[in-house]
């Protein structure tokens, strides 16, 4: 029982980080139908922002987190303005190739500045508790609670504010959104800022949990978050969270009961099967074109 609880706690931690990244994929897809393949690298830049805030500026946890979120948000908006906006009317495949290119550019740009892996100094005093055979750390709790808090914050913005209404309207059909007086470009920028900001938060927390960071760390984590978003139903915000929790749980459980090298193999196989059964993802719906 204690072993199970331990694994569930570990799964929650991993899933929360996937979810914060998956949200960015799904929001951008929802609003401009683009798989933003540079998103995993925004997560990586978030980690490096946290590293710089801690190592060079000597900031503590919360300011470092904020700086990392703001830095990532700016990067997200810059990517959209410079790389994707000029291609909005272009075939989707051009935009996707551009996204891959942007990702490779960010990785190599970071590599040129940081040729060796960096170590993020511990920003939080990590206290560990043992309770009936389950050990949990303050870092783990902070990661889980903060992620859930950020998800509720995003949910509030998307489902309770005019900006969120505009985002959802654009995702339905952006043709007539300007007729409501809504500046579409501004809403798209906000969407990128929110998605990238959450990825920055994920990068910070990931970096605190696994402090050795390098410019390629975003690739695998990014792919997994992307797949979590697809499993949940890409374009669907709550789906991205559900998909992330499925993926994170499967990964942790595989490691708990099988050799850890099976992790990615089993996880991806399960996800492929799920996609075969439900091609639009768990909460995704095939859109019928209305006349």
């Amino acid at each position: 029982m204690a072993y199970w609880l331990q694994q569930i706690l570990n799964a929650l931690q991993l899933s929360s980080i996937y979810a914060l990244i998956a949200l960015g994929y799904t929001m951008v897809y929802g609003i401009i139908n683009l798989i933003n393949f540079a998103h995993g690298d925004v997560f990586m830049v978030g980690s490096f922002c946290c590293f710089m805030a801690a190592a060079f500026l000597g900031l503590s946890f919360l300011p470092a987190l904020l700086l990392s979120m703001i830095g990532s948000a700016f990067l997200g908006v810059a990517i959209e303005r410079l790389a994707y906006k000029p291609l909005r009317q272009a075939p989707r495949v051009s935009a996707i190739i551009t996204a891959l290119g942007v990702g490779i550019f960010i990785e190599n740009f970071t590599l040129s500045l940081a040729p060796y892996p960096k170590v993020i100094p511990p920003l939080l005093k990590n206290i560990t508790w043992a309770l009936g055979g389950v050990t949990f750390s303050s870092l783990q709790l902070i990661i889980i609670l903060l992620s859930i808090g950020l998800m509720f914050f995003l949910d509030y913005i998307v489902y309770r504010t005019p900006v969120g209404m505009a985002m959802r309207a654009i995702s339905w059909d952006k043709t007539y959104v300007p007729l409501m007086g809504v500046p579409v470009d501004f809403i798209i920028s906000i969407t990128f800022a929110l998605g990238a900001g959450l990825a920055g938060a994920a990068g910070t927390m990931y970096g605190l949990a696994y402090p050795v960071i390098d410019p390629y760390m975003g690739i695998m984590v990014g792919w997994k978050a992307f797949i979590a978003a697809v499993v949940g139903g890409i374009g669907n915000i709550r789906g991205a969270v559900i998909g992330s929790f499925i993926l994170g749980t499967v990964e942790i459980m595989v490691v708990a009961f099988f050799p850890s090298t099976y992790r990615d193999f089993v996880a991806f196989t399960l996800l492929l099967l799920l996609i075969i059964i439900r091609p639009y993802g768990i909460l995704g719906k095939p859109r019928t074109q209305k006349v």
């Binding site: 005019p162 209404m165 505009a166 959802r168 309207a169 995702s171 339905w172 059909d173 043709t175 007539y176 300007p178 007729l179 409501m180 007086g181 809504v182 500046p183 579409v184 209305k290 006349v291």
Partner: protein, 239 residues
């Protein structure tokens, strides 16, 4: 020049092209403050393109002046701020937003919560069916209800000029009459109306003046007596 001051919208030599196809070939017309003006014509006459150009949704050449201000360089969402609202062809309801959210979005440029609440009431008084469904998603509405919601959104924006693109499309004669009654009401409350219709009979009864379009050009214009013009009757009224 009192006449000139009365002009709310002036379209001068408007041309719209889609690639090599010219959809609108030098159309000019005016809409005076307080009028209901209708553009009638068959499918492909260029009616919708004219409305889209006025709202800034598509590029065009020529001039569109609203309150003597040239709209050419103004982005679509700012044109709404100036006081032009469009009820687009096919209604353009956001199916994933609730009825009330659709209305709220149309009041985007307005901040005053109190006023917005007053306007919800106004819309719900005009269309009681919408009130019953205010928390339902737009996609669950019937065609008639969607049209009411689309007109409701125009009310929310408090537009000075309301552009309506085929509000009768796909509706039963009873609903068409109801929608046209509301359009007349909106006009009585001070908004100027530019109505695009294939249902020429209804449109001509309502409008103070009409322009008849054929393949991208104005071929006729006039007041209510267009109804009895034999050419109009033959072409659009099935008589």
């Amino acid at each position: 020049m009192n006449m000139h001051r009365d002009i709310l919208l002036e379209v001068r030599d408007l041309q719209v092209s889609y690639g090599h196809i010219k959809a609108v070939k030098g159309v000019s017309f005016t809409v005076r403050r307080g009028e209901i003006v209708t553009l009638i014509g068959a499918n492909g006459a260029g009616k919708s393109s004219i409305l889209k150009a006025i709202s800034g949704l598509i590029p065009y050449t020529g001039h569109i002046l609203f309150n003597n201000q040239d709209l050419q360089k103004i982005p679509a969402h700012k044109i709404v701020d100036l006081g032009i609202s469009q009820v687009p062809e096919g209604r353009g309801i956001f199916g994933n937003l609730t009825v009330q959210e659709n209305l709220r979005l149309a009041a985007w440029q307005r901040g005053d919560k109190q006023e917005i609440a007053t306007d919800y009431d106004r819309v719900y008084t005009t269309f009681p069916q919408l009130k019953e469904r205010c928390h339902q998603l737009g996609e669950t509405l019937s065609g008639g209800e969607q049209q009411m919601l689309a007109v409701g959104r125009a009310l929310m924006s408090r537009a000075k000029l309301v552009l309506l693109d085929e509000p009768s499309m796909g509706l039963s004669p009873l609903l068409v009459r109801e929608i046209f009654k509301v359009i007349a009401e909106i006009n009585l409350n001070g908004a100027t109306i530019l109505l695009v219709e294939q249902n020429a009979n209804m449109a001509l009864r309502l409008a103070s003046r009409a322009y008849v379009l054929e393949t991208g050009s104005v071929i006729m214009s006039g007041g209510g007596k267009l109804l009895s013009d034999p050419r109009v009757r033959a072409a659009y009224l099935g008589a």
